[in-house]
C-alpha cells in the first residue's frame, strides 16, 4: 500500500502549497531582518519622542546627544533631554515592551489568544495599592526613597495579588492553566470592586485615583527609569530563555513532561516573573490596556510563530508602539496631555482591525484559514 508515486487527493491539493513554500533553503521567518528593521524604527521613534514636547528640539541635535556629541547643544537642551525627555521615552519603551512580552507569554502559557496581562488581576491589585496610598495621603514623594506613595503602593498591591493568585491556583497541589486563569479573573474583579468602594468613600481623592489609573509617562524620573531598566533588563531575558518551553507545553502536559518540561513549574515561573514586570509597569505608568493583548497578535501577522522569536519581536513592537503613542499623547492636546491608555487603544485597535481584515481577504483568496 505504501506506493510513493500514488498520490491521494489530499496530496494533490497540497502540491501547489508545497511549491509556494519554496525550497528548503528558503525556509524560515526572516527573523533577523525583521528584528533589525524593528531596532531601526525603535531608534527613530525614540529620537523623535525626544524632539517633541513643550519646547521642540531639532532632530539632529537629539541624534548628536544620543551619540555623545553634546557640543552643539545648549545646557538647557541637555538638561531637557537628559532629565525629562529621555527618561520618559525609555520608560515608555520599557513599559510597552514589557507589557507586550507579558501578553505574549500569557497567551502562550494559557494557550488562549484572549489572555492578556490583566487576566491575572495583577494590574487591578496594583491600582488598588496605589489608590490606598493616595487615599491615605501618601501621594507625594516619600522622603528618603525618591518614590511616590502611589508607586510603592502599586508594587506592594501587585505582589500581594500575585501571592493570592499563587496560593489559590496552587491549592490543588499543581498549577493548572484553567484554575489559574479563573482565580486571576475573580481576584481581578474583587480588586476593581475595592477600588470603586474606595473612590465612593473618598470623593475628594476620586479624581486623583482615576487620573492615576488612566496612566501617563509624564512623571518619569531618572531614578525610576533606572529601576525599571534593571527590572525589565533582567526579567525579560529570563522569559526569552524559558520561551521554548512554552512551545513544548502546547503539546499537552504529558507530551511536554516526556520532553522534560514540567507544566506546573513553568507556569509558576512565568506567573512570578510576569507579576513583577507588571507591578513595575503599573507603578510607572498606571493601567495601560490593549498593548499586552494585541501586540502579540500583530507579531503573528509578521509570520513569526516560535515563542522565543515572537517574544523578542513582541518586546520590540510593543516598545515602538508605546513610544509612538506617547509622542501623540503629549502633543495632540498640547499643552495638556491625553491619557496614554486611551491613545494605545485609539491608535492600536484600528491598525489591528485593518490587519485583521487584510489577512481575512488574503486568506479568502488563497482559500486557507
Amino acid at each position: 500500500m505504501s506506493n510513493p508515486g500514488n498520490m491521494t487527493d489530499k496530496e494533490k491539493t497540497s502540491a501547489p502549497q508545497a511549491a509556494h513554500s519554496g525550497a528548503r533553503a528558503l525556509r524560515g521567518d526572516a527573523f533577523y531582518p525583521k528584528l533589525l528593521a524593528a531596532a531601526v524604527l525603535l531608534f527613530l521613534a525614540a529620537a523623535v519622542a525626544c524632539c517633541l514636547g513643550s519646547s521642540s528640539i531639532p532632530f539632529h541635535k537629539v541624534v548628536s546627544y544620543f551619540i555623545g556629541k553634546t557640543e552643539s547643544l545648549s545646557s538647557s537642551e541637555i538638561l531637557i533631554i537628559g532629565r525629562i525627555r529621555l527618561p520618559r521615552t525609555i520608560t515608555s519603551l520599557l513599559v510597552g515592551g514589557a507589557l507586550a512580552s507579558v501578553g505574549c507569554i500569557m497567551q502562550g502559557v494559557f494557550r488562549n489568544p484572549m489572555a492578556d496581562p490583566s487576566v491575572l488581576g495583577i494590574s487591578s491589585g496594583s491600582a488598588l495599592g496605589a489608590a490606598i496610598m493616595i487615599v491615605l495621603g501618601f501621594n507625594g514623594v516619600i522622603i528618603g526613597t525618591g518614590f511616590t506613595g502611589a508607586y510603592i503602593g502599586a508594587i506592594a498591591g501587585a505582589l500581594v495579588t500575585w501571592l493570592a493568585v499563587f496560593y489559590i491556583a496552587r491549592s490543588s497541589g499543581e498549577y493548572d492553566t484553567t484554575s489559574t486563569l479563573i482565580a486571576g479573573i475573580a481576584i481581578s474583579s474583587i480588586m476593581s470592586a475595592l477600588i470603586t468602594v474606595l473612590m465612593t468613600l473618598h470623593h475628594e481623592s476620586m479624581e486623583r485615583i482615576y487620573m492615576w489609573m488612566l496612566g501617563t509617562f509624564s512623571s518619569a524620573t531618572v531614578q525610576k527609569t533606572w529601576v525599571l531598566f534593571a527590572v525589565v533588563g533582567v526579567l525579560v531575558p529570563v522569559l526569552v530563555l524559558i520561551a521554548p518551553r512554552i512551545d513544548v507545553l502546547k503539546l499537552g502536559r504529558e507530551a511536554a513532561l516526556s520532553l522534560g518540561v514540567n507544566q506546573s513549574r513553568t507556569l509558576g515561573i512565568v506567573l512570578c516573573i510576569s507579576s513583577v514586570l507588571l507591578a513595575f509597569c503599573v507603578a510607572n505608568s498606571g493601567i495601560i490596556g490593549f498593548v499586552g493583548l494585541i501586540i502579540p497578535h500583530i507579531v503573528e501577522y509578521f509570520r513569526i510563530h516560535r515563542m522565543r522569536r515572537k517574544l523578542i519581536m513582541s518586546f520590540m513592537t510593543g516598545a515602538i508602539f508605546m513610544v509612538v503613542c506617547d509622542c501623540i499623547a503629549k502633543t495632540v492636546v498640547s499643552p495638556g496631555e491625553m491619557a496614554i491608555g486611551a491613545m494605545t487603544s485609539l491608535i492600536g485597535a484600528p491598525y489591528f482591525l485593518i490587519l485583521l481584515i487584510k489577512s481575512r481577504v488574503t486568506a479568502g483568496r488563497k482559500g486557507i484559514r
Binding site: 500500500m1 491521494t8 502549497q17 513554500s21 503539546l251 499537552g252 513532561l257 516526556s258 522534560g260 518540561v261
Partner: protein
C-alpha cells in the same frame, strides 16, 4: 527498560479512575490497551508518563491537542527534538534531518510551512505522530492514534509502528478502539474495565471481549492468521 506499574490508584474527586492496577509492560513489544470509554486507559497512560518521564525514554501522543498552536508543521514536529537541558540549542542539521524524515513518513511533505491550527483533525494527528517519531524514544505511548485518521493513514501509522518495533527494537503502548486493528498489531493485550485490569493476554478471544465490552462478539480469522472479531 520494562515499565512496571504497581498498585496504581487514581482518584478524580470521589470517583476512582484506577483501582490498584498492576502490570509490567515488557520492552520490545507492542502493548495494546482495550476497554470501554472511561475505563481508565488514558489515565493509566498518563500515570506511566508521571512515573517514568525522568528516564527520558518516553514519547507521548495525546488523543487531541487543546487550545491554539500557532506553529508551523515543521516547528511542531521539531519540538520532538527539544532538549530541556540546553537553553540555547537550536535545531541541529542532524535534528533537522530526523524531523524531515518523520514528516515524510507521515506523508506531510510539502505541508511543512502550514500553521498547525489550520490543519484538519486527521492532519493534526499525523503531525503529533510525526512529532513523537522525531523524538526517537525507546518507548512511545499513543492514545488513540488513529481516531481521526483515514484508512490509508491509520494503516501507514500501524505499519510504521510494526517496522520500528521489528527493526529498531522500539516498544509501544497503544490505546485503540478498533479491535481488529488491535488484534493485528498487538503482541500483548491489556483489557480494562471500571479502573481495573480484567485480562492480560497474548491472544484476544470473543469471550474476553464480550465480558469487557458487554457486547456479544463473533470470531473469524484473516488470511494472515489474525483473529477477526465482529459484533453479533
Amino acid at each position: 527498560m520494562n515499565i512496571e506499574m504497581e498498585k496504581v490508584t487514581v482518584r478524580y474527586g470521589l470517583r476512582k479512575a484506577l483501582k490498584g492496577v498492576s502490570h509490567t509492560f515488557e520492552e520490545g513489544k507492542i502493548h495494546v490497551l482495550l476497554g470501554p470509554n472511561g475505563c481508565g486507559k488514558t489515565t493509566l497512560l498518563k500515570k506511566i508518563v508521571d512515573r517514568y518521564h525522568a528516564s527520558g525514554e518516553l514519547a507521548y501522543v495525546p488523543q487531541e491537542v487543546y487550545g491554539n498552536v500557532a506553529l508551523t508543521v515543521f516547528d511542531t514536529v521539531a519540538l520532538g527534538r527539544y532538549d530541556s537541558s540546553k537553553f540555547f540549542a537550536g535545531v541541529s542539521d542532524e535534528d533537522r534531518a530526523l524531523v524531515q524524515k518523520a514528516i515524510d513518513e507521515m506523508e506531510m511533505t510539502g505541508m511543512e510551512e502550514r500553521i498547525f491550527d489550520t490543519l484538519s483533525g486527521g492532519e493534526k494527528q499525523r503531525v503529533m505522530i510525526a512529532r513523537a517519531l522525531a523524538q526517537d524514544a525507546p518507548w512511545t505511548l499513543l492514545d488513540e492514534p488513529s481516531s481521526s485518521l483515514d484508512v490509508r493513514h491509520s494503516m501507514l501509522t500501524m505499519n510504521k509502528i510494526r517496522e520500528l518495533k521489528s527493526r529498531g527494537g522500539k516498544s509501544f503502548i497503544l490505546v485503540l478502539h478498533d479491535i481488529n486493528m488491535a488484534s493485528s498489531i498487538g503482541d500483548e493485550f491489556v483489557l480494562m474495565k471500571d479502573g481495573q485490569i480484567m485480562y492480560e493476554t497474548e491472544r484476544l478471544s470473543a469471550d474476553m471481549l464480550g465480558k469487557v465490552f458487554d457486547t456479544e462478539f463473533g470470531e473469524g480469522s484473516s488470511s494472515e492468521g489474525h483473529s477477526l472479531f465482529y459484533t453479533v
